[in-house]
Point group: C2
């Protein structure tokens, strides 16, 4: 297995899930190298949140990537973000906020950095329950990615197997929030909204806001993040 290392690369989006994942990695004794992506998002609020959260990391890189040049998503292109009256209006269909191959691209950068750092652990906050129907959030995708990654790299070829950790994969949003609160995550420093106001307040009606609000409600907690309608 080669030398042991506790270095880890954590995908940090600025959202609630990845903030919780970073707290879990730190709790498990990993040194955290956090990576965030500027990928043609409509707003920079999530990167501001990621930078605030990254104080506990050894290093934080914000990588510029150019997915918007391919178009194809309401999060990066000129398509309206859908709004709903409540969580009961969400369907199982893959929504227009899906960014093509996003987690595949993000994990590939994490893999590149892990290889340079000689880290064997990548953490990503994907979730198969409240996952908005994105195919690249499913456990079978993560397993296939890990298999591929261990064939792609020098470390993998030499037997230093890379592991992709998905500690949220089978938790509900309420369970994620409860775990994070136990670990001291400050959810005021996380954003989830797909379409926030310019001052950072959340819209309260996109898929992501509705899932977040239901999570806090189910956990019996109030969301410290400000909303437009507060």
């Amino acid at each position: 297995m080669g030398e042991t290392t506790k270095k880890s690369v954590v995908l940090l989006s600025g959202g609630l899930d990845s903030a919780t994942v970073m707290a879990m990695a730190l709790k498990d004794g990993y040194d955290v190298y956090a990576v965030s992506f500027q990928y043609g998002q409509r707003h920079s609020i999530e990167l501001d949140c990621a930078a605030e959260q990254a104080g506990a990391a050894i290093q934080h890189k914000i990588v510029d990537i150019d997915l918007s040049s391919f178009g194809g998503s309401a999060l990066t292109a000129d398509i309206d973000v859908p709004k709903h009256g409540g969580v009961e209006e969400l369907t199982d269909e893959i929504p227009v906020t899906y960014v093509p191959a996003r987690n595949t691209v993000f994990l590939s950068y994490a893999l590149a950095w892990a290889e340079v750092l000689e880290a064997h652990d990548i953490f990503i906050g994907v979730n198969a329950l409240d996952y908005s129907g994105y195919p690249d959030c499913r456990p079978e995708f993560i397993a296939a990615y890990e298999t591929m990654a261990n064939l792609a790299t020098v470390a993998g070829v030499q037997g230093n197997k890379l592991k992709i950790h998905t500690p949220l994969i089978d938790l509900t949003k309420a369970e994620i929030i409860q775990r994070g609160k136990e670990l001291g995550v400050d959810y005021a420093k996380t954003t989830s909204c797909y379409d926030p106001a310019p001052d950072g307040r959340a819209c309260g009606h996109c898929d992501s806001c509705l899932l977040r609000l239901k999570g806090f409600s189910d956990a019996g907690l109030s969301d410290p993040r400000p909303y437009v309608e507060d």
Copy 2:
């Protein structure tokens, strides 16, 4: 299988192999959407070559990616490119010119674009014979990538399977050049050198030059690309 499409995404590096692959895709009747990467290379000569070759493509995108910020390779960091007297000095070791996770990152962008284009075919010029020991040029890597990709995307989930074509995978460099010449590839517009002179002439002594020169020699042809020592 859904509607048939002949759209394809071709990874075009500016080198000899990918120029040949593009010619093969065109010969097979595919519309070509070519993608090249600015990834912190020491020189832009290969992108100039890619742009010259891309005249036959429907569209050519040059995507800026930021692998150099992670360091770790003689092709993107401040490490000397190794030079040799001849091809007999090449070893089986993974060389310092290896760029961490490069093909994984490149294929992930190709996958994102293919998904937006609704293309089901990606072409990449990897080669398992003259492959310089890079783990991400092996057939088992490509197969694992394809499996992962079909779990990552909406198209894959809906049964429109993505295929990664590697028509050079078991050809020698001489065979690649012979195939390309039959298809009319102008190898003067391709560059392979890891460390060219500022005017674009190839060094003639890096791993890549030595494999290329041996290929032309074995094919009984002369390389139309100028070398420093010509």
